[in-house]
């Protein structure tokens, strides 16, 4: 049984009186101790997906549509009683948010806020609880935790605040830690430290980590598996290294092309034109086609399906498992490539993309 199994998750979010389908039919499987990176631009539905897992959507102004399923260790979380959900939140599943500046309550000390999380999930008296708070703060690398515990959030730097948030998330010994853009609001130097910390904690506690980021570079440093989200749908997923080496979907290629490289200044930056469309106005057919440089006439009408291909890509790929599946109409029947690297890319382009993916979760 997998740690987390998301099937056909569809979540809507209300903006200006209209319901927008921010997450539209996402499947995602996570194993114990696995680090999965969820990548996409702003507006692609990453945060809504994360909030859906925690059952926090209804507290904003959204909801999960019927027919969706989120199973944590086999236990269905969609439609779960609030009481049980509360045990899971901050317990089995914890979350770290993007803005350490605003995510901590300004009127309580950092120690008190971590203590709350400890007490919510473990039977401890005041003294034990406080000792645990100090231990957690030390664990996340906050120097002089005894003093810092008495500090208010505004007295700490951004990096320290994010460490405190992580300590709070660790309080319930989570099996799954969701980190939603944990470094985006931080200085570059601090970003690396926080990423290292997350990586270290993940392996040390054998925690599963769902790292959400718009930055492919961040994800590639920490996660073995990468999931690319666009307009509420998964467009590509697979081992991070494979995707970096041979991205199959034009959107993924666009994301990779938008990265900046310090080492290679001559490299041309190829940004994706335009922006993610509004969630209540997804385009017909493939949602990426208005921005896609490789779109052809079919893309505006039909949506390519995500198919398993090249299980265990990379060295020793089993070529027989690979295929290209065209639109339901069958207008594309060409057997596709499994070549790695640039060659795969060019071949994919020659058949006007459509989706290729290796879903490791299905295999194991």
């Amino acid at each position: 049984m997998s740690l987390l199994e998301i099937r056909n998750l569809r979540s809507v979010f209300r903006t200006r009186g209209e319901e927008a389908r921010a997450v539209d039919g996402v499947d995602l499987t996570m194993e114990r101790g696995e680090a999965v990176g969820l990548v996409g631009e702003s507006g692609s539905g990453k945060t809504v997906l994360a909030l859906s897992i925690l059952g926090l959507l209804s507290h904003g102004s959204g909801r999960i549509l019927p027919g969706s399923s989120i199973r944590l260790r086999g236990e269905e979380m969609v439609g779960m009683k609030e009481r049980r959900l509360r045990q899971i939140r901050g317990g089995a599943v914890a979350m770290v948010f993007q803005e350490p500046m605003t995510s901590l309550n300004p009127v309580f000390t950092v120690g008190d806020q971590v203590l709350e999380a400890v007490k919510a999930h473990r039977a401890m008296d005041g003294r034990e609880g406080w000792a645990e708070v100090i231990r957690l703060l030390r664990e996340v690398g906050i120097p002089e935790p005894e003093q810092r515990a008495g500090a208010y959030p505004h007295q700490l730097s951004g990096g320290m605040r994010q460490r405190a948030m992580i300590a709070m998330a660790l309080a319930g010994s989570p099996a799954l830690l969701i980190a939603d853009e944990p470094t985006s609001a931080l200085d570059v130097t601090v970003q690396a430290q926080i990423l290292e910390l997350l990586k270290r904690l993940q392996s040390r506690f054998h925690m599963a980590l769902l790292l959400i980021s718009h930055d492919v570079g961040v994800v590639s440093r920490v996660c073995q598996t990468m999931v690319v989200l666009y307009a509420g749908k998964v467009v590509e997923k697979g081992p991070t290294q494979d995707i970096l080496r041979s991205p199959r979907h034009p959107y993924t290629r666009g994301l990779l092309g938008s990265r900046l490289f310090l080492k290679d200044r001559r490299r041309v930056l190829r940004p994706i034109p335009g922006e993610v469309p509004e969630a209540n106005a997804w385009p017909e057919g493939c949602r990426f086609h208005p921005r896609c440089s490789e779109a052809w006439h079919l893309c505006g009408r039909e949506e390519p399906r995500l198919v398993a291909m090249g299980l265990g890509r990379g060295a020793g790929a089993r070529e027989g498992d690979s295929r290209v599946v065209g639109p339901p109409g069958g207008s594309l029947s060409e057997v596709g490539p499994t070549d790695r690297g640039g060659e795969g890319r060019s071949r994919a382009r020659s058949v006007r993309c459509w989706l290729f993916s290796g879903d490791l979760g299905e295999e194991t």
Binding site: R86, Q87, R89, F97, E99, N105, Y152, M165, M168, G172
Partner: protein
């Protein structure tokens, strides 16, 4: 924190001096002559001048001001022209009554207002929210004297006789006739019964405003990221609302304390008048009608002082409730 407090207190001093000056000037400019109170038929102009001289009204205005300020700073508020009693005694006599009424009403209004405001914010746009908003606005915009009269009509006049309710509340005064004859328990009961209507009326007037303020403040706070964090920790909803949200929502509400605090001394003129409550509001109205200047001067200064004090208190409380201000690094 201490530096912050000291700075605030120091800043209040020139403000109070300004208040004293303005009060004096305004009263000096006001029409009417305090000496005219002693005017009798057939009194010669010389006698009237003599009275003016005795009262120090013949001196130039700035000299009068100097004398008044000097004695004022020494705690001497002069004597009431109407009764001859020292102003200080006159005020001290009615102050506890006003304090009692206002303290009870303000306390009740804050408790009820905060509770209702939070309930409304949590259920924004629900029927409960709409009904409470409407009711708040109704009591908030109603003239307090009219509300007071209606309260008397309903709970005092009609309650016992027309509708036959078991209790009809006393409509005026602080105690019944023959209060001195009552036993100790009966005295407490009698005082409490007399307090109900004026306190309730004042509470109704104040609660609406507080509830609206708290509601809006809560709606602002409930959208914040740290509320989501509190939920993500697995805290029960009541703790999220009443601890994490309310604690932050109350920070701006502290301002209201600066607004309502002066009521403790000034009382509410209309409500005290309708309920014949012997408090500051009534004393002031009576004194103004009698042109009893020393009382009016002292009273007005006290009111002004209370406003300054209320704001000072609010400033200091900000420091207590908001740690970001406390450190004085902001």
């Amino acid at each position: 924190m201490l530096v912050y407090a000291a700075r605030r207190v120091l800043a209040a001093v020139p403000l109070l001096l300004g208040v004293a000056t303005i009060v004096f000037v305004v009263l000096a400019l006001a029409p009417g002559d305090p000496a005219s109170m002693y005017l009798r038929p057939g009194m010669s102009p010389e006698t009237l001048d003599q009275i003016r001289r005795n009262m120090g009204l013949d001196a130039p205005l700035h000299v009068q001001y100097g004398r008044w300020l000097l004695s004022f700073l020494q705690g001497d508020f002069g004597q009431s022209l109407a009764s001859g009693i020292p102003v200080k005694d006159r005020i001290l006599e009615v102050l506890p009554n006003t304090l009692l009424l206002a303290a009870v009403a303000i306390l009740l209004a804050f408790v009820a207002g905060i509770f209702l405001g939070v309930m409304q914010a949590v259920r924004q746009h629900s029927p409960l929210d709409s009904v409470l908003s409407g009711t708040s606005l109704f009591f908030y915009s109603m003239p307090s004297f009219w509300l007071a009269i209606m309260m008397v009509l309903v709970f005092s006049v009609n309650a016992g006789t027309v509708w036959g309710w078991p209790v009809s509340l006393p409509p005026s005064g602080m105690v019944s006739d023959g209060y001195d004859l009552l036993g100790p328990m009966a005295r407490v009961r009698d005082r409490l019964l007399h307090l109900v209507l004026p306190a309730l009326t004042l509470t109704l007037v104040l609660t609406g405003g507080i509830a609206r303020y708290v509601r809006n403040s809560m709606l602002e706070v409930i959208r914040q990221d740290y509320i989501r964090t509190a939920r993500a920790k697995g805290l029960p909803e009541w703790q999220v609302v009443w601890k994490h949200a309310l604690r932050n929502a109350l920070i701006p509400v502290v301002t209201l304390l600066g607004v309502y605090f002066p009521l403790l001394l000034s009382g509410t003129v209309f409500i005290e008048y309708v309920f014949a409550w012997p408090g500051m509001g009534r004393l002031m109205v009576d004194s103004i009608l009698l042109e009893d200047y020393p009382v009016v001067l002292a009273g007005t200064f006290l009111f002004g002082g209370m406003v300054v004090l209320g704001n000072l208190l609010a400033d200091l409380l900000y420091g207590v409730v908001d740690p970001r201000i406390r450190r004085g690094d902001g």
